[in-house]
Subunit: 458 residues, 2 copies
């Protein structure tokens, strides 16, 4: 066993690339905090999601929020209200326009940054942070273009600065129990996976700053998602938000770690939901300009993917239709399958194992989810109580902060980030070609064959 | 209103093609039974499914089973046992090899045939029957090749002999209620559909004639599906059985009737289920030759399709993995969606309507399925009791027999048959090209634009 572990450690170092290996030998080069057990954090973007991060990070005892950057005064005010409520020292503020985050990055009293800005800022801000050696925790979205993913990889390989995608659904309690079952072979060999982002975003896609939530406008005069996200629906047709669905599945079949995505093709149905929503709103109506506006995004986008190891994956993006929230996971192997039906409540799913269940009959997953509760949740579920999104934010924040604090590799790294982000521009490309199959680049440049399994990490 | 109906009748005649129009003017040319209200039937293929037909047809008062063709003596014996049990006159038997059905077709006391033979015989037998003017009810499967579909269309257009695909799932009670809701606009405009054939067929894929159901062999020495169907799993990788999933969805979005399938792409995961099954069987084991035999069929085949009217459709073929039966329907429109979870029991699904349900919360479909129970079921549900597959066989048989008896068009016609069958060779073609998108031919040669909606038919 020792021999095996040694080989794995060796491979793990190898797989991080030359720059990263140097960084491990000389961590002080990277982490200004040296041996201090406190992580000094900057937060870039404190809209709705960024405010979550402010709250989560303040719950921890090992994080100091040094500075915040956001060009929007109302977001800054809300974030400051949170820090003041907690009674901590006011963070330094960088509010002078979109580029002021660069001044935050210049500070030498910051070890790491959390990036929760609008989507189009994720990659440029991540790259600037990596350049100056600030470890990056970047929020989820899809890449704006394919080059984004290559730029992230190149930047990491050049600077050695680690970056983690803050994909909280990977840490959902039922998902982690299922991951545990997958890793223990409970499902047999994995064959087929499904997931997606099925969440009616129409109510948050339209508002006005003045009246907030019952408006029917979007763009600069609106607030929150309606201010910037809805514009993506106008211009883009693809799976715009792939990682909540894909991330958990990528862990189960070790994408970039002995396996990789090879092909993808996407189709989109017609676009009706946003127009119809405006037409039915009290402040809208069928004659409102936004009821007739052309939105590029098809209401349901389906993406089918193949992997090097022969699994198939189907992702669904469904955010502009009336529907209950459900990420629609399905995890299927040679010994059975699990289907998720709601928001993570164990009793809502269905499970079947050939070697355990009554013949060809579904069982409730409750007992299995309890039996295979992931060690992280088993030992720290109490600490996660009250944390965002049913506790899963606690664990993604923990992985990021402790990676920085203890100078250990993040469980989700730049190759995961690059691949997961790439699904968006690749799906747009496929749809633009009428649903053609496109190749998924190998962002590890061959290292996926040797990189250690998530079994060793999560 | 009258004007509208007149136009529709006119279009309906037009849409059947010139040969069919001639046939309508001179029905005696086609139906040997003339004005008799009794349909004289031949049955080609009396394996498990053909025996169902024998029983179903005998339940009716308007069918005389004149003759049966099948080269397999044990199937013939079982069919004869059924007719004798019912006390009807022995049908004339055609048992002298695979081609003896040609002699059944020569008889001038037969109006119509039901074809329930192994898949590879469906098309040649259908075409021979059409040539001699016997109306055809052909069982479901997927085409062996794309030319099959063109041959069926050409044969129909040349002979004017009507042919119906006996797709019983189109008549499942919950499916018909959902169809009724779709047609009444309950879901709003339809956006996205899912369905499939998810049925663990492994136990019936292997046996030996001697010991029946616990064998691990297939091919000529086996019985039932194992005798011929399993061989398709050896050689073919695609959605081999698309119509149970696709047929009901085609009706909902009027495929070939104002709409048509335009593109399709399929992917298949690795093939593991059949080998693993043999390895785990008492008479098999890991060293049994069939545990190592290469099966071409991927365990889960996913097919995504686009339509001329902008809906997307996802089909799943999942027949060689351990799993509970579930066709996995999802019907989604601008006002909500339904998801099917089991075998048609209403309480097993979930439904959501924006204009009725509690906000973003699933409801049980029971009350809706009752409210929208299809008129066919409402008026004849009692008659269907005890009929095959929960009563749905009653309705598909009824549509076929009454079409012949009353000389009215079948609800499902040659263009439906050709398109539905074509999914199989197209999906094989797509998979053989690594998942490439392929175009779906227009088997109506442009007539889809004018053909009347299923709203007028079903």
């Amino acid at each position: 066993m020792l021999k095996k572990i040694d080989r794995r450690s060796f491979v793990r170092n190898l797989s991080m690339g030359a720059a990263a290996a140097t960084m491990l030998e000389n961590p002080a080069r990277l982490f200004a905090s040296g041996n201090r057990k406190q992580v000094r954090m900057g937060i870039i973007g404190v809209g709705a999601r960024g405010q979550f991060h402010v709250s989560e990070l303040m719950r921890r005892g090992d994080v100091e929020i040094i500075a915040i950057a956001d060009p929007d005064p109302s977001s800054i005010a809300k974030a400051l209200a949170l820090t003041r409520e907690k009674g901590i020292k006011d963070p330094v503020l960088f509010t002078k326009g979109d580029e002021d985050f660069m001044n935050l990055l210049k500070r030498d009293d910051i070890d790491a940054v959390v990036i929760a800005s609008p989507w189009e800022w994720h990659v440029p801000q991540s790259i600037e942070a990596m350049k100056v050696g600030k470890a990056v925790g970047v929020e989820v979205c899809g890449g704006i273009n394919l080059q984004d993913s290559w730029d992230l990889v190149d930047s990491f390989e050049k600077t050695g600065t680690p970056i983690m995608i803050l994909e909280n659904v990977c840490y959902r309690r039922d998902i982690m129990a299922i991951l545990n079952m997958v890793q223990k072979g409970r499902f047999g060999e994995i064959l087929h996976l499904q997931g997606g982002y099925q969440h009616d975003l129409r109510p948050q896609s339209f508002n006005t700053a003045a009246t907030c939530c019952d408006g029917v406008d979007f763009g600069p005069g609106a607030v929150g998602n309606a201010k910037w996200r809805t514009e993506h629906f106008v211009k883009r047709n693809g799976d715009l938000y792939p990682t909540h669905g894909f991330g958990p599945l990528a862990l189960m079949v070790d994408i970039n770690r002995g396996n990789r995505l090879t092909t993808l093709s996407s189709i989109a149905c017609k676009s009706r939901g946003l127009n119809r929503y405006i037409a039915h709103q009290p402040k809208g109506g069928p004659d409102h300009p936004n009821a007739k506006r052309r939105f590029a995004l098809g209401d349901i986008v389906t993406t089918q993917m193949q992997t090097a190891n022969g699994e198939t994956i189907v992702l669904t993006h469904d955010t502009t239709s009336p529907r209950p929230y459900n990420l629609g996971f399905r995890v299927q192997g040679t010994n059975g399958l699990w289907q998720d039906q709601h928001e993570g409540e164990p009793e809502q799913g269905r499970i079947y194992f050939e070697d355990k269940s009554p013949e060809h009959s579904w069982e409730s997953p409750v007992a299995y989810l309890e039996e295979y509760d992931h060690p992280l949740w088993k030992t720290m579920g109490k600490d996660a109580e009250g944390s965002g999104h049913g506790g899963m934010d606690f664990f993604s924040e923990k992985a990021f902060v402790e990676g920085v604090r203890d100078k250990k590799p993040f469980p989700l790294d730049v190759y995961d980030l690059a691949t997961w982000y790439a699904i968006t521009p690749l799906s747009e490309n496929s749809i633009a070609q009428g649903g053609a199959m496109v190749e998924v680049p190998d962002f590890t440049r061959g290292k996926w064959k040797e990189r250690v399994s998530f079994r060793e990490i999560l």
